[in-house]
Amino acid sequence: MTGPTWGVHGVTFRYGRATALDDVSLDAPSGAVVALVGGDGAGKTTLLRTLAGALRPEQGTVTAPPLTDIGFMPTTSGVWRELTVDENVSFVAAAYGVRGAELRRRRESLLGTAGLDEVGDRLAGHLSGGMRQKLAFCLAMLHRPTLLVLDEPSTGVDPVSRVDLWRMISQAAARGAAVVMATTYLDEAERASSVLVLDEGRVLLSGAPAEVVAQAPGAVFRTAEPTVRSRAWRRGREYREWSPDPTTGPTTGDGTRVAVDLEDAVISASLAKEAARA
């Protein structure tokens, strides 16, 4: 997919004395989905708001299309709860100058895909959480933006709605939009074209999911009984334990070294950072 690459370069942002972003860079090529991953307070929302134009960075540059070409879905979904689904669509369409037959076509297509075509006269505040998130996505997509910024679109959404949402995100990217989305689900991030892992406002890892996995420091072992609890985490019925030295795993249990996936890689990088700090 050819087209512009949007993003931020060397961006720093502070809330008072707290640094939310520290020299962060991100590229969002057209037709690609970039997943932002990180714990609470990592800086995901600040980065998305900076990219969307809601915040002005103290340092660094933002390369983004005009506001008329940006679609933004905030973490609070950003729908007008006292308006019906149709009224929400009409308001956003008017703001972006989408009208007439084009509006009807896009409304039918988006609401149909999202499964909201039967609830056009329902107040947005009376929709379920998943439906509201899908409506918010429809509003962000209504004007066919070239940059789509989504802040945790699938958080609090049931598995079926998550599938619908991901399908709509993929369709937007396939049409040429650059999609930047924050997510807490690493299985979603694995489906993205690239992943940016943030930790305390800094980039911990970045690249295609396979590259991020390859950057994972140390080694991860599967064990029934972790040796160092602070370096272990649960995966199903067993534990994973990270070791900075690939040759030394847990001394108890079976301690089998495993091939890391994205979740292991992200946790390993966080633990490595903590270990380095200690």
Binding site: R56, P57, V62, T63, A64, P66, F72, P74
Partner: protein, 348 residues
């Protein structure tokens, strides 16, 4: 239970607005009621005109405070002085006995003057202008119009704006292709229109049900209302910029609304307040709208007579509304400050 009480105190300690309502408001109310809640008029601004002006002025007892005499002025001049709010009582000595024209639109002053002049018996004829029967409703209805505009302008507007912030849609509006002025005008215009309709409705009902006269120009009244609305809407917008939730907005609006009700001269006469409290009243926009609405409706005053409240209110409107728009704009306009112009995107 101990844990519950402790938790409640901890939350209260951090909720400064509720603390202010719990601690500061009772103190403020005590001071205000102590110094402002007074219906007793000690001083009545009085002018004496006509050939015996100086003699009669010297003979006038308390509470009449003579602020000027004019031996050459006529009976019509005396009436004009009352209409222009130059004095609350004007004694015309060209008649026998002298006639005291009393401004009935200043209800408590007029009641006090009427009682004091009544003690003089046949030595003076009392002519109460603009509210001859000293009807309370005639004075209250014009002031109530202002109170209703204040209510809509501050409480309703701030709630409407904070709802947008609370729902996260203000953030959405900030990144939509609206100019900040579009958002501000779009948010405020409905409240301006609704408040204007309310103003018309309350005025018409006041005239129809309570028989309150409307002696002045409706256009001048509308102009005063529009300027006043800009002030109160500005206050509403300012409240919304310092409030994160609708509850906070209501608390702050009540803190702003309370002094307007008590100190604008609408319930307690300004003349009866302690000077320091009276000066707080002079800083409140409702004080000046009450002067305009009572002046236009009851006394039929024109712009020349009401230049002072119009000037002060216009100044307040400019300052408050500009500050409100600038603060609100700050929440909406960060995108314009991007280091890389958004419309000069660089393809990879």
């Amino acid at each position: 239970m101990r844990a519950m009480i402790l938790k409640e105190f901890r939350e209260l300690r951090r909720d400064r607005r509720t603390l202010a309502m719990l601690v500061v408001l009772p103190v403020v109310l005590l001071v205000i009621f102590g110094y402002a809640a007074n219906f007793t008029i000690d001083t009545i601004a009085t002018r004496v005109v006509g050939p015996q002006a100086d003699t009669v002025a010297a003979a006038l007892p308390e509470p009449f405070h003579v602020t000027g005499t004019d031996a050459a002025a006529t009976s019509q001049d005396a009436r004009d002085l009352v209409q222009d709010d130059v004095a609350d009582v004007v004694v015309d000595t060209s008649t026998t006995p002298p006639t005291a024209f009393v401004d009935g639109s200043s209800l408590f002053v007029a009641q006090t003057a009427d009682a004091a002049l009544g003690r003089a018996g046949d030595q003076v004829t009392v002519d109460i202008l603009y509210n001859p029967d000293l009807e309370t409703s005639w004075v209250m209805v014009p002031a109530l119009v202002g109170l209703i505009l204040t209510f809509i302008g501050t409480i309703i507007t701030s709630i409407g704006l904070v709802r947008e912030r609370q729902a996260g849609t203000l953030e959405q509006l900030a990144v939509m292709p609206f100019r900040p002025s579009d958002v501000i005008i779009g948010k405020i215009a409905p409240y301006f229109i609704l408040a204007s309709i309310d103003m018309l409705l309350v005025t018409l009902l006041g005239v129809w049900i309570f028989g309150v006269p409307f002696n002045g120009s409706p256009w001048l009244f509308a102009l005063g209302g529009a300027i006043f609305l800009f002030v109160v809407l500005g206050i509403g917008v300012l409240i919304s910029t310092v409030s994160q939730t609708q509850g906070q907005a209501i608390q702050t609006a009540i803190l702003v609304l309370m002094p307007q009700i008590l100190l604008s001269g609408f319930i307690f006469p300004l003349q009866a307040m302690a000077p320091a409290i009276r000066w707080i009243g002079y800083c409140l926009p409702l004080t000046y709208f009450v002067k305009i609405s009572q002046g236009v409706m009851l006394r039929g005053s024109d712009l020349a007579a009401l230049w002072l409240p119009f000037t002060v209110l216009t100044g307040m409107a400019l300052v408050v509304f500009t500050a409100a728009v600038l603060r609100f704009r700050r929440d909406l306009a960060p995108a314009t400050g991007r280091e890389t112009p958004v419309d000069a995107a660089v393809p990879a």
